[in-house]
Symmetry: C2
Subunit: 344 residues, 2 copies
């Protein structure tokens, strides 16, 4: 039995990257994937840390992602749109390729959009909006998923958990960032209730007949509900339209139909909007970054938290003390590294 | 006593326009205001119809809006940003001035933003996103308000009711449009509960000490809550940042401090994003407008409604049968027209 182990951020990154290389993933993708998985673990965001490796490997093994894909910038798009074709590979290297071009367009146009096409997606969007804030931009990111959520007033899975993320840059401290599913809960949380034999809170889900249920098993056979009733349902629908239909990528029902299962990661597109605050504020009184601090102080002055604060606290601890993994987690990483795709 | 009366849409528009002209509002503003107020009444959206006239007149009388302002396009903004200075007048003519330029930029850049500065705001945002859909664009509109809503985990008014609206064009039928407050309820709904002596639903508001309350009076002295808990609070905060701080206009707490009351309409800015679906979809399989119809059919096929359907049904009836106003409403219009600002 291995003991608990402490990894530096760099050492964990190397381990994760090596696992994906062993699984036949090219260097471009493996590096980008390792960055987001390590960032999740670093921020104690366990649902998007090394937990994601197994599903990614199973998706590779099932032939549902291109391990050799090299994303490409698409030429000739309209002035404020940047398009990257992920070529059926993971979304992360496609985002990394597009980011500097998006930043340049946002600075020259004031606002710009990055579109990722044909990308297999498993990572949280906060990493992407944070990357924008690190270069002084505000950003919004959104993408479909696969159909597991019923629209308000409906009875069947149609929408995805469709995450919506926003970031605002702050000088000398972590950015203002939020990133949430537009479903009440993540599908994984329902699965956790099922394993624990615990009923779901009211309002999370409906059964296969469209009736409200607190039974996790019935919920998994039925559909999840959106957060905030018809308002959350409207936002989830907007995400299908903007980040699916409009960009010419799959909607959540199409992604599920193509994948045929909810146990692998789906392929679809993603839409990221970047705003240059200085371009918007030009000629107006006040510095937008300083004015934002006044708003944040007023929120925290009431005893309310800013979103992502827990993540940033965990990050500071990881940077200082390293990342602790359990013996079981270390064994699993060792097994992935040794066996590659035979481990899943 | 006057009887109920039926107005054609054109006749009601003329009446409302004449009321604002009588109140000293210039032709540019009066026409644009009459268009949105008549549209609200036409769509049986009574909260944004002629009900809004009195508050607008009181705001003029209090000297909190410039009745003679002529909005101006600001020169020299970045390529995909259009800025209109409302000059302290109402927001509506500023939007009308910016719309064709926004559309042109969205078509050439793929995405573009319209910023309205220093505008007094009382109208629903659906009219604006609908105007974008009428010319084949998708759009998002958002603005702050004045501080009446507590952030999640907080205890005091800080955020506005901060509306968020989205529109998607449909060929040969009304667009997909939603427009909602990011507060659980509108402030007017709490006032209606107070007048009716009815308790509020749980989760709408907190009292002045930050404790949950169902007492409308205590809620009006305290703060409203956001829809969807911390997720709605995050969206409302995003709107303060993008449509207040970033564009160099007032945030909701600043707008309330400047106005000094919640009984008049506040001055702040607004942000409208326009997307050209054909530019985003270029080179990809499928026509985005047709693919969207597949999504809408799937939603309606479950028995769920699309947002704004009730409004469009009412609109069709108004276009066919005219708009019916009660005797009391007609008398009030007559009084506004006769007395101008002396009526309020």
């Amino acid at each position: 039995m291995t003991d608990d182990a402490i990894f530096t951020i760099g050492a964990l990154h190397e381990r994760v990257e090596a696992i994906f290389r062993k699984a036949g993933v090219n260097a471009t993708q493996a590096g980008a994937i390792a960055r987001v998985i390590t960032a999740g673990e670093r921020d104690a965001c366990k649902s998007h840390g090394i937990y994601r490796i197994e599903g990614a490997l199973r998706t590779i093994k099932a032939g549902k992602v291109e391990p050799g894909a090299v994303p490409e910038l698409e030429p000739g798009s309209a002035g404020a749109i940047v398009k990257v074709d992920a070529k059926g590979g993971f979304a992360n290297p496609a985002f990394e390729l597009g980011l500097p071009v998006l930043a340049e367009r946002a600075r020259s146009c004031g606002i710009a959009a990055l579109v990722l096409h044909d990308a297999v997606h498993f990572s949280a969007l906060w990493a992407e909006v944070e990357a924008l804030t690190e270069i002084g931009l505000a950003g919004i990111a959104m993408c479909p998923s696969y159909a597991t959520v019923a629209p308000a007033g409906g009875s069947k899975p149609l929408l995805g958990t469709n995450p919506f993320a926003f970031g605002w840059p702050r000088e000398g401290r972590p950015p203002y960032v939020f990133d949430f599913a537009t479903s009440v809960a993540a599908r994984g949380e329902i699965e956790l209730h099922r394993r624990a034999g615990k009923p779901l809170p009211e309002g999370w889900a409906i059964d296969a007949e469209g009736r409200p249920t607190t039974d996790p098993q019935a919920a998994l056979a039925g559909a999840m509900l959106t957060f905030g009733g018809h308002k959350g349902s409207a936002i989830a629908t907007m995400i299908e339209l903007l980040a699916g239909v409009m960009i010419g990528d799959l909607t959540s029902p199409e992604a599920l139909a193509q994948l045929g299962t909810t146990t692998l990661y789906p392929a679809h597109g993603e839409l990221i909007l970047a705003f240059a605050p200085q371009a918007f504020a030009a000629g107006r009184p006040g510095n937008p970054l300083m004015r934002a601090e006044t708003l944040f102080e007023a929120i925290m002055g009431q005893g309310a938290r800013l979103p992502s604060q827990r993540r940033f606290t965990a990050r500071a601890a990881s940077e200082r003390d390293g990342i602790r993994l359990s013996a079981m987690e270390v064994e699993q990483l060792d097994r992935f590294l040794k066996l590659g795709l035979d481990a899943v």
